[in-house]
């Protein structure tokens, strides 16, 4: 199966020669590129590892976080799950930072990351709940995946995996069937338009083979019985800083702009055996569109559909005036917002619930009896 990357490589060379992307004008590109029909983009980024020596998994997930944020997905639509024990780890020689490269040019931790599930909250249960949106009614909005049938979702997982499982923080694991079933539930409830699933773990390709719901594009970093290798170690930090697969992904995505017309197949061209040192897999049979016509920004960006049609000019006028053109009085009396003072009182403690209601006489009597009982016990004990 070593042939595939070679073929891809040759094909990519060919396409690069035949069609230089810079030559294509935006108008042409718009006609070539098929419509995604989505109106909003969401991203779920998960690093399932803990502890210092898994530095690279945090760098992996933060690489993608940086990218989706840079390309315009608002933080309210990014769900970031990571242990977050690296940047401020006692062993980190550069506190408050996570780097993707030994040149330390790109601080992935930055100053505005919003972690939604941190530390021990990164569990299989929370991940499944997140995908299927089964929570308490008071679960905050920022920690929920509130997608609909017009949402494109990018899901990125990294950590230690095996044949059809991914380990969550040394404590539990998620199976490929669990994710496949969760996706099916999302499909049934029309919670997505398209999903782009990317996974960077050992034996990653085994994780997406069980998917059976439509409109899912999946990429993995390594085949069955293959490891996903780290890119390099930073001697100052003392551990490997990033995995090869994600390193080259970020390397490619750094050159993509908010309104770029770069397509998905160009990203896949980067995934060669020479780069990744394992055989990355791409699964497209569930995906309806041709990957060479799918924009990177369909999943990783937030290009919004705008309408600039003429607007009506007299809706409010008509609503506020009658036939004779006179102002209707109803709106004058109603203030929009009524500010009311918030009353805080310290008496509320007294209203707290009492488990059983006792009259004060009975309370006194009970106290007296208890005292007598204790006294009697003390006296008898002394005699003995």
């Amino acid at each position: 199966m070593l042939v595939i990357p070679v073929v891809i490589y040759i094909l990519s060379l060919l396409t690069a020669i035949i069609a230089d992307p810079n030559v294509v004008t935006t108008d042409e590109a718009e006609t070539i590129i098929s419509e995604s029909r989505h109106t909003n983009n969401w991203a779920v980024l998960v690093s399932t590892s803990r502890f210092w020596f898994n530095y690279r998994h945090m760098a992996n997930v933060l690489s993608l976080y940086r990218t989706v944020k840079r390309l315009g997905i608002p933080d309210s639509q990014i769900i970031l799950m990571l242990s977050d024990d690296i940047a401020c780890n006692a062993r980190n020689a550069f506190p408050g930072t996570v780097f993707n490269n030994m040149d330390q040019a790109l601080d992935l931790y930055g100053d505005s990351i919003e972690v939604d599930y941190r530390g021990y909250e990164v569990t299989v249960e929370n991940f499944i709940r997140l995908l299927t949106d089964r929570w308490d009614p008071d679960h905050p909005r920022s920690k929920r995946l509130l997608t609909d049938e017009n949402s494109n979702i990018f899901i990125y997982l990294t950590g230690h995996g095996g044949n059809e499982f991914l380990k969550f923080q040394d404590a539990e694991e998620i199976g490929s069937y669990d994710i496949a079933d969760a996706f099916e539930q999302m499909h049934e409830k029309k919670r997505y338009n398209e999903i782009f699933f990317m996974i960077d773990t050992c034996q990653a390709n085994t994780m997406y083979e069980r998917f059976y719901s439509p409109n899912i594009l999946a990429v993995g970093s390594s085949r069955l019985d293959e490891s996903s290798y780290s890119h390099h170690s930073d001697m100052d930090i003392g551990v490997a800083v990033i995995d090869r697969f994600t390193y080259y992904t970020l390397d490619f995505l750094e050159k993509v702009d908010k309104d770029s017309k770069q397509t998905m197949d160009k990203l896949f061209d980067v995934y060669t055996y020479q780069n990744v040192h394992s055989n990355p897999g791409i699964r497209t049979d569930l995906f309806k569109r041709d990957v060479s016509k799918v924009l990177i920004t369909d999943f990783l960006g937030n290009v919004q559909n705008v309408v600039v049609d003429d607007v009506e000019k007299d809706i409010l006028y008509n609503a506020n005036h009658d036939e004779k053109g006179e102002v209707l009085a109803q709106n004058e009396s109603k203030p929009i917002v009524s500010y009311s003072t918030i009353q805080i009182s310290f008496d509320s403690e007294d209203d707290s619930h009492v488990l059983t209601e006792l009259s004060p006489e009975f309370q006194r009597l009970a106290g007296l009896l208890t005292l007598l009982f204790v006294l009697a016990l003390w006296l008898t004990a002394k005699q003995a």
Binding site: V306, V308, E312, N318, N331
Partner: protein, 521 residues
Amino acid sequence: MPQTVLNDGSLNSRDPVQTTIQTVRRIIVFIVLLLVVGFGYPVFFFTTSIYRADLPVDEINEFSQFLKQKIHYKIPVYLDIPSTIQYSTTEAQSHLNEALSKAYPEFADFWTIDLIEGAKDIDPKEEYVVRFEYVPKTSENESPQEAIEISPHSKESKLFITDAINKGTLVGHFLSSVLIDMIFKEELADLSAVLAGKQSSADKNIVLPYSANYNLVFSLFVENGRSIDWQIDQSIRQFQPILDKLSHFANFSISTQVQYYSKLSKDLTFNESRGAYILQESDLATFINFGDWNLDTHDMNPSINFIIYFPESNYESKPWFIENIDSNAFLVKQWGGVYIFNKDRPVLNDSKVSLVESELNPIMETFASQLFQLLGLPSFPKSPYMRIDSLSRITLLKNLKKSLDNLRSLVKLTESLDEISIPELTKEHVLESLSFIKNALIKLDVSQDYHAAMTLSAQALKNSDRAFFEKEMVQQAYFPSEHRLAVFLPLLGPVGSILTIALLKLLMDLKSSRKSKKKTE
């Protein structure tokens, strides 16, 4: 005690104490075995089994299959026909039915108009009224034209009939074309699209998914840090009459904010010849700078955002234009609207800028129009009364359909995943949702009260969502069934192994004692 043992002649050769211990041991082993099998196994079975409540599958299937047949829209339209026009309501009804069944054959028994004679005491704000007026040929007006006047302030329309068409069938044609091709045109098109499961032609992904609560967020984003006054409170008040009319549809909560130092993510180029900054149309898709602008409301309900952008170049009297487009406003699908504000008059250097009501009102008109598009109101006729009525009927159908879709997905899911639990609460929500659907249909049949029926359908939708998203319905809540044995092995292992060894020993004992019995005999 030894005496009882001695009575047993067969064990005479053994130590009586030993035999007692042996019997007691056997009894203990037997009791433990009994406990494990009779009590432990059922407990294990029941505590690890998945609870699956019985969902009313047949009812759900029946409803979703025959939803169209269960809905009967019968919209009353009151006719006011003067005696100068030779036409009766019964004639009109049969003409209209004919025209309707020609245009929408699938709507028989689903959507009809009920023409009622006499509109004297009818409030045109409450009910549809069509008034006929006869325009005779006069000396001033030699050849009068037929005309239609649809009021923008109520649900009233006027048809002006001339001599040329003052014949039964022609009046009938006129009336039915006004009703089917004008007043109810978009509604009919939308309803037919919803029934067919397609997106309506007007929609194009603009309309927000239905929610019973929306946040309307009006934001002023200022490019630099110079403070600006805006009289938004007064301007927003203009929305109140419309929001009041929509109160049965959804609850709107309004908030406003001003944010300074809100730069675009891209620099604009200054066009010398036009003396203005030019925004390309393709830039609009990434105009909103989500990285730097805080637009998150942290509220569970969806937000509809309306943004006024105030560029710094207003201080230099250099306007911003969108290439090839006259208006300075654009709509972002399923999200909100944006208006780029250019100050008409130059700003004096030290003065504080204020956006006064007269400047904000045209912007609010734009936002109102965008709000109508985002909520999916028909674009015709003008009257908000008619539009909101149409919206209610469309939303009623959409909500009922969506609720039943949700319930059917739930059923399908529970059938395909045998390990998913179906808690009692899910069943309760399903039943509640179904009862809201039934109530909405009854409301429609009894009183044709679209607003109340729509509100009930919203409840049905909410409950069907709750049923699907019930917290306990997580398949992989603790462990998948393949791991069940692994999880319990630390408990079952020691108990099981001790029990098996004891059993083995017991059996061996029995065997040897039987042998010795034989020997003694």
